[in-house]
Structures are given as structure tokens and as C-alpha cells.
């Protein structure tokens, strides 16, 4: 990567905003378009952008591949785990209503949790795939 000051500074400034936007998309998904998947893609896009400008090595120091690879199963585990929790609390699988006293609240918690699971898996996977492709070299 060439030393392109403008890009570097611009990206440095943008990164926290992209991350915030991802979180906004994640948590505003209840009211507007968006949700875990879209947020995950945006978060992964941030890492990709960072890697393009600052180089793969820097990005990998910031977001280590080991962590990314752990995120992939972790998200699924959270999602499936929420289902099991529902089961243990006496409901059917993924019946979030039992998670709180008020069924509607339980649903809200459940949706939030599983969307977080999706976010983690998607962000992890997309970053991991990018690392795998980019790190392969010609």
C-alpha cells in the first residue's frame, strides 16, 4: 500500500463512525430497516476498508484472525443457546416469551439476543473469508 495520507486520515476518522452505524443498524432494527445481518456486514466492511488502506497486517493486529475464527461458531452458539434457554425455562425451542415475565418483553429480549448472535457470526465470517482470500497471495 502506498502512503496515501488523505486516505489514511479519512479512514481513521471514518472507522468509529462506521462501527457506530453498524451498531445503530443493529439496535434500530426493531424500528427501521436493519438487523444483525446487515450490521454484521457493515462491521466486516469496516475491517475490509481498514485492511485495504493500512494493509492486511495492520488489520490483523487490530482484529486478530484467531478472534475472527472464534466469532463464527460463537454467534451460532449464542443463537442456538437462546433457544435452549427457552427450552429450559419451559417453553418450546426459541419461544422467547418465557424469557421474561411479560411475553412481549421476553420476545424483545430474545430478538435482541439472537440478532446479536447473527451479528457476531456474520461479521466474523465475512472478515474471515476476506482474510483468507487476501492472505493467500498470488
Amino acid at each position: 500500500m502506498r502512503l496515501d495520507v488523505i486516505f489514511r486520515v479519512a479512514v481513521k476518522i471514518m472507522v468509529p463512525f462506521i462501527l457506530m452505524f453498524a451498531l445503530y443498524v443493529q439496535f434500530h432494527g426493531d424500528f427501521g430497516p436493519g438487523g444483525g445481518f446487515q450490521a454484521g456486514v457493515i462491521a466486516a466492511a469496516m475491517v475490509i476498508l481498514y485492511a485495504i488502506i493500512f494493509g492486511l497486517e495492520t488489520a490483523k493486529r487490530l482484529v486478530p484472525p484467531r478472534l475472527v475464527e472464534m466469532m463464527i461458531p460463537l454467534g451460532v452458539l449464542i443463537y442456538a443457546g437462546v433457544g435452549v434457554a427457552c427450552m429450559l425455562m419451559g417453553g418450546n425451542y426459541l419461544d422467547y416469551s418465557v424469557l421474561a415475565h411479560d411475553p412481549a418483553h421476553g420476545q424483545e429480549y430474545g430478538i435482541l439476543l439472537v440478532e446479536t448472535g447473527v451479528l457476531i457470526t456474520v461479521a466474523g465470517t465475512m472478515t474471515a473469508i476476506f482474510y483468507a482470500l487476501a492472505g493467500r497471495g498470488r
Binding site: F31, G32, P33, F37, I129, A132, L133, R136
Partner: protein, 120 residues
């Protein structure tokens, strides 16, 4: 019985069909593996239109409940297609990974060349 209005009414459907079939054609006809994958994702993407256009209600709004709105388009196809998009990109990623490995193993991504090499 094809009057002009009929053509207008069916235009969208026909274009959708054209998009799908063109994607399928690329997949079957082309020997280049990356291009095949592009065709495959065009094919998948155009299928989304089939679902989403079925879910539209004329005069409706996006299915986000708000006071003062009455007609919402059908949310279920949107959900299904969200899932389908995810499946599509997952398939694409895996396909590309395979293509990269094939290129390393065979030195080409043209099916014809690989078959020719194998035949020897």
C-alpha cells in the same frame, strides 16, 4: 388477445423471466468458473424479484407499523428473501474459494482446459 396494456402489465414479469434465464444461460454455457458464479448469483438474485413483487400491495408502505398507515406490503416474502440473500452470498463465497483452489491445483479456471488436461 395481446393488446398494448397486456404487454405493459406483463412487461415486468417478462423482464424478470429474462433476467433469471440469462443468469441460468451463463451458468450452463460458459466455461469460465468465475463467470459461472456471476451467472449463478444473477440467477439467484432475479428469483428474489419473483417473491418480492408478489408481496407488494399497490398503495402499500413498507411493513413497519406506524400510526396513520393502513396498508402495508406483505412482510413474509421480505423475510424469506433476506434468508435467500444470505444463502446466496454464502454459496458464492464457497464457490470462489473452490475456484481459487482449483486455479492453484490446475493453473486455470477454464473448464474446457481442465477437461482437456484430464483426458490426457
Amino acid at each position: 388477445m395481446f393488446v398494448f396494456t397486456d404487454i405493459i402489465a406483463h412487461y415486468n414479469q417478462w423482464v424478470t423471466v429474462f433476467l433469471m434465464v440469462a443468469g441460468l444461460y451463463i451458468v450452463v454455457a460458459r466455461g469460465n468458473m468465475v463467470k459461472k458464479l456471476v451467472g449463478l448469483s444473477l440467477f439467484q438474485t432475479s428469483v428474489y424479484l419473483l417473491y418480492i413483487s408478489a408481496g407488494k400491495i399497490l398503495g402499500g408502505t413498507p411493513p413497519i407499523i406506524e400510526a396513520g398507515r393502513e396498508v402495508y406490503s406483505n412482510p413474509l416474502p421480505h423475510v424469506l428473501i433476506l434468508t435467500a440473500i444470505v444463502v446466496g452470498v454464502a454459496t458464492l463465497a464457497l464457490g470462489l474459494a473452490l475456484v481459487v483452489r482449483i486455479n492453484e491445483a490446475f493453473g486455470t479456471i477454464e473448464e474446457d482446459e481442465i477437461f482437456a488436461e484430464d483426458a490426457e
